[in-house]
């Protein structure tokens, strides 16, 4: 693994001359480095959650040696060549030893239509389809270490590429349903996703700074609150529960449709898996 390029030495040198106190120096460095990253994480005014996150978690995300999510990438790498199931195969048996060659870009176009079932399928479900149909193995459970690791690894392989889900043609009805979910008030507190993430980004709701909820390019991500990597659907469940609404099960059709809408809202934003958030 290599350190990412956004630790710009030029910015460091310039600031070092200016800043006297060591504390000031350190926070100055973080801000200068992250200014560069921030411009990368904004496309046509659409801002990643990175913009609303704090400098400390962004620092962890930017540095592969500090980023705790990299542990799940490592586990994904190990699983890639692990034989499992009655067919006696690993992912590598069909997709090659070097996943970078076959899987780069794949993450950016999911959820996608499964032509066989006529249903929308997200990346976790696509991975599990390969396990069941091609490996004759059991599907990995939602939110299991294995499924999170493989999803994180496949996301990581698209790091830096723009999100690019298709929302027209046969997929349009799913997109419209997902959008409707986003605008539907729910729960005892009677709020829709849009009330927080479209109407109020940049404002504090108690201690939390609301983002635009544009994180289709960032999940699975490491949340300090969870002390582990979690899926986008886990985040959906949290956002449902905080308005006292019944969440759906991870992988439910409603969430896959919602995921398509959320990933469309992230269109053009570069993949940041594994991101780090509070």
């Amino acid at each position: 693994m290599t350190r990412k390029g956004n630790k710009s030495m030029g910015a460091m040198g310039g600031l070092a001359a200016l800043a006297g106190a060591a504390g000031l120096l350190l926070s100055g460095l973080l801000i200068a480095n992250q200014a560069a990253a921030k411009s990368k994480y904004e496309v046509d005014g659409r801002k990643s959650g990175y913009h609303y996150s704090n400098p400390e978690t962004n620092e962890m995300q930017d540095d592969d040696f500090l980023n705790p999510g990299m542990l799940w990438v490592q586990r994904g790498i190990a699983l890639w060549s692990k034989v499992d199931g009655a067919a006696g195969k690993s992912c590598a048996s069909c997709h090659g030893d070097d996943a970078r060659k076959t899987m780069r870009g794949v993450f950016t176009v999911y959820p996608k239509l499964n032509k066989k079932t006529g249903k929308l399928e997200n990346i976790e479900q696509r991975i599990n389809r390969c396990r069941v149909e091609n490996m004759k193995a059991k599907p990995w459970k939602w939110e299991s270490g294995e499924l999170l690791s493989m999803t994180t690894f496949i996301g990581f392989l698209s790091r830096g590429l723009p999100m690019n889900v298709k929302v027209d043609g046969e997929v349009k009805p799913f997109f419209e349903k997902g959008k409707a979910e986003y605008f539907k008030r729910r729960g005892q507190l009677d709020m829709a996703c849009k009330h927080c993430h479209i109407d109020n980004p940049g404002k504090r709701i108690r201690a939390d700074l609301l983002s635009e909820g544009r994180a289709g390019q960032a999940f699975p991500l490491y949340r300090l609150k969870w002390q582990k990597i979690g899926s986008l659907h886990r985040r959906f469940r949290g956002c449902n529960k905080q308005v006292r609404a019944k969440p759906y099960k991870p992988g439910a059709e409603e969430y896959v449709n919602l995921e398509l809408y959320v990933k469309w809202r992230s269109r053009g934003l570069p993949v940041e898996v594994p991101a780090v958030r509070r």
């Binding site: 539907k184 008030r185 729910r186 729960g187 005892q188 507190l189 009677d190 709020m191 009330h195 927080c196 109407d199 109020n200 404002k203 504090r204 709701i205 108690r206 201690a207 449902n240 529960k241 006292r244 609404a245 019944k246």
Partner: protein
């Protein structure tokens, strides 16, 4: 303004009665909902269930995260001993200079009558909600007494003239 007592659609819910066919079988819980009369779409003049509010209790409910949690969205200068005031709604430090208790009551009971788009929860409503978690189903966020307590507290929120920005 308050001359014509207009009944807002669904605004009158008889205490102790089933509020609608969708709530059939749930009447034990909905019995907690007080009846009220909305006037001119902006106010509920009569205290809910005839209750008298207590400002000290109201202050606690205003702050409590599992009750009013009003600080999640509103800044209140008088409560600055509590950390983290939200920025979603207007500051309420001087709200009593501009709003009557009757207007505040509707604001709390069902603010969507005033502004259908608002993010502010309807604190005394159980109808027309979608996918409410089981343990909150059929229950309003705040009881009639709790609404009156919060109104009594919010009524105290006035800034001295010179301190106004």
């Amino acid at each position: 303004m308050k001359s014509i007592a207009k009944l807002a659609l669904g605004g009158v819910i008889a205490a102790g009665l089933v509020a609608g066919p969708t709530l059939a079988g749930d009447n034990m819980k909905t019995a907690k909902l007080a009846s009220y009369k909305v006037v001119d779409d902006i106010a509920i003049p009569e205290p809910l269930a005839g209750k008298k509010g207590d400002p000290a209790r109201g202050e606690k409910l205003f702050v409590a995260r599992k009750k009013g949690n009003c600080l999640a969205c509103h800044k209140v200068e008088q409560l600055k001993q509590h950390l983290f005031h939200g920025e979603i709604g207007p500051e309420l430090s001087d709200v009593a200079s501009n709003m009557t208790p009757a207007e505040m009551r509707l604001r709390l009971v069902d603010p969507k009558i005033v502004n259908p788009e608002t993010i502010m929860p309807s604190f005394h409503k159980v109808k027309g909600l979608h996918r409410v978690m089981k343990k909150f189903k059929g229950k309003p966020v705040l009881s009639a007494q709790e609404i009156e307590d919060i109104i009594a507290f919010v009524q105290t929120l006035k800034m001295p003239k010179q301190a106004k920005k």
